[in-house]
């Protein structure tokens, strides 16, 4: 009995000790409310630079929601624990950040703490934004404080106890968060360092492209090894990249700014919004990001040897092609449903990608291929872009499995996906509601259109 109470006392001491340490870390002073600065008080050149940085960070991707003013927040960001709602980051003094000084904004970016001193949830990727320099934070602040104020309130996070206690995030920070701005690697060139700064910092690519652990943290040791976002697979950006044609710096830079590349296909799902934003950043920044990313894949700037490229079908003058069907149901479905676009040889972005080049076919997980085949690629609203009809109504689960197994085995020549039928059922069940509520199920290429919708 005495022994047992000793153990309990020891355990209590440890809990109090850790809790106390966390509490000490959790405490941040409230910063005094600032007078909302007049828009005219900011240098227009600084505001312009902030606009570019906001595009790089895809701020509007989370902080704007359909049916609400731009940057007024309210978009639910789903986490494994519940929804966290993106904040209103317009300069409204009640609902937004109008009373935030530049120092308060910088602290939120660097330390993940709001003006009142409360911990923010890491759905706001401050683990990346901490790398951003003071100068860039100043430009972002200038940009945000010169936007139109919107008084739209944001719902409280829908998180269970104890996660609804914000101070608990101090424990998370203790485990997973290392604050501090980006330290350049002196062994690398300026392009590489600029790219690393943008990819790891404001770009927060790892928020989707790195797998997450049980506490929602980006897994250590699996940096950019492939993750998930909004029901889509975010492909590996390291040496495990599933792209059948290795990425080059030229190809990646073009893809990031235009959302498509002839030997890789088109960006869709959440990535469509990212590339639409990157279309507004200087070419040099996209090239720097590409330089860094391609180096992670284990390649330099040299083009891939031609021998590595899968065979392409001959170009065709018209839209119709007759394809001799291979054996089996999947081959017949491919010839009747897919080949008229995907073997027509028309150039991207408006032609169909030769599927031997498709990253989705070569990926370790069939999710993206199933999503695209079921729901197609919706036309971007108000802009030209690639489209594909969805086959959810035309193909039942068995036919879809036969078709996708054929694509995987005969076109990608890769081992079968063991979880294909389960993935088909899962995606079909989930996206039925998504498509019904949204009408398209796919973000338009232009984020401004998404905001207005």
């Amino acid at each position: 009995m005495a022994r047992r109470s000793l153990l309990v006392s020891l355990a209590a001491l440890v809990v109090i000790g850790v809790g106390g340490a966390a509490a000490a870390l959790a405490w941040h002073p409230a910063l005094p409310p600032a007078e909302r600065p007049a828009a005219a008080s900011f240098d227009p050149a600084l505001v312009k630079r902030g606009a570019t940085l906001a595009a790089l960070g895809n701020c509007a991707g989370c902080h704007s929601a359909p049916g609400r003013p731009p940057l007024a927040g309210g978009l639910p960001v789903e986490t494994p624990f519940g929804a966290v709602y993106a904040s209103n980051i317009t300069p409204d003094t009640e609902a937004g950040i109008g009373h935030w000084s530049e120092a308060a904004f910088r602290r939120a970016m660097r330390d993940g703490v709001d003006r009142d001193g409360r911990n923010l949830y890491p759905a706001f990727p401050y683990n990346h934004y901490t790398l951003v320099t003071d100068d860039d934070d100043a430009a972002l602040y200038a940009y945000l404080m010169t936007r139109e104020a919107a008084d739209s309130a944001v719902p409280s996070p829908a998180l269970p106890f104890p996660l609804n206690v914000r101070a608990v995030m101090a424990g998370w920070n203790l485990l997973f968060f290392r604050p501090g701005t980006y330290a350049p690697d002196p062994a690398r060139g300026p392009d590489w360092n600029r790219g690393a700064y943008l990819v790891e910092g404001l770009g927060h690519c790892g928020a989707c492209h790195t797998p997450h652990g049980p506490l929602g943290e980006e897994k250590a040791g699996e940096h950019l090894a492939g993750g998930a976002a909004e029901g889509w697979t975010a492909y590996a950006l390291n040496g495990a990249s599933p792209a059948p044609v290795p990425w080059t710096v030229d190809a990646m830079a073009l893809y990031l700014r235009h959302g498509w590349q002839a030997e890789h296909g088109v960006a869709r799902g959440p990535m469509a919004l990212v590339t639409a934003n990157l279309g507004r950043v200087p070419e040099a920044d996209a090239r720097a990001m590409a330089t860094y990313l391609v180096s992670l894949m284990g390649r330099g700037a040299e083009p891939a040897p031609p021998a590595a490229k899968p065979g392409l079908p001959p170009a065709s003058a018209g839209s119709q092609v007759a394809v001799a069907a291979g054996n089996g149901r999947g081959a017949a479905l491919y010839a009747g449903a897919c080949a008229s676009c995907h073997e027509a040889g028309r150039a991207l972005p408006y032609g169909g990608l030769a599927l031997a080049l498709s990253t989705a076919l070569h990926a370790p997980d069939p999710t993206n291929l199933v999503v695209v085949t079921l729901h197609g690629l919706a036309a971007p609203v108000g802009a030209g872009g690639p489209i594909m009809p969805g086959f959810a109504g035309a193909l039942d689960d068995d036919d879809l499995a036969a078709l996708l197994s054929y694509l995987r085995g005969d076109i990608a020549k890769a081992p079968a996906w063991p979880d294909l039928p389960a993935t088909i059922r899962r995606v079909r069940a989930r996206d039925a509601t998504l498509v019904a509520s949204d009408g398209t199920g796919t973000a338009p290429a232009d984020p401004q259109v998404r905001i207005a919708r």
Binding site: S319, Q320, V323, A325, R329, A332, L333, A335, G336, A337, C338, S340, C341, A378, A379, I387, M388, P389, F391, A392, G393, A394, L395, D396, D399, D438, G439, T440
Partner: protein, 168 residues
């Protein structure tokens, strides 16, 4: 042998299994309501309803339709006795050249069978995949609205039988 039920009648399919449904409907059955527009599933002129879902029949091979129920424009009514949605398109004079109209009607029909109370926004979003080069979109939207209201007035949602998929 592949068997497909079209507008309530079962047909055995005697063409290559990769043949698009559209070709078989027009060439083998003489049902010319569904139109060939682009052949790429991008314009919607070929839209028909399969098991309650609007599909682009130019990119669906007959092999995928064994044992399924297809409804085409001809299944909704005749020139003498048009169905309620067809009647609404006539009343709103929604067609100019008319080439896209069968597809518009079939996609709207599938929506209204599933959601009789569809809002104007839902109708717009649903018809987004169907193109009209004459620019009669406003009349098409009015026609679908009129058809939806007429169908709802004729039979309250609770009493309405399932109209699509025939034998289902």
């Amino acid at each position: 042998m592949t068997t497909i039920t079209v507008n309530g009648s079962a047909h055995e399919v005697a063409v290559d299994p990769t043949t698009p449904l559209l070709y078989w409907l027009r060439d083998a059955l003489g049902l010319n309501g569904a139109k060939y527009g682009c052949g790429l599933g991008q314009c919607g002129a070929c839209t028909v309803v399969v098991e309650g879902e609007a599909v682009m029949s130019c990119v669906v091979p007959v092999v995928a339709l064994d044992g399924k129920h297809v409804t085409t424009l001809e299944g909704l009514g005749t020139a003498d006795a048009p169905g309620p949605l067809q009647r609404a398109f006539i009343d709103e004079q929604a067609a100019q050249c008319g080439f896209c109209i069968p597809g518009m009607i079939m996609r709207a029909e599938a929506l209204l069978a599933r959601r009789p109370d569809a809002s104007d926004a839902e109708i717009r979003a649903t018809l987004q995949t169907n193109l009209c080069r004459c620019g009669t979109h406003m009349r098409i939207l009015k026609a679908v609205r009129r058809g939806a209201d007429a169908m709802r007035a004729a039979s309250p949602p609770a009493a309405r039988p399932v109209r699509l998929g025939d034998a289902r």
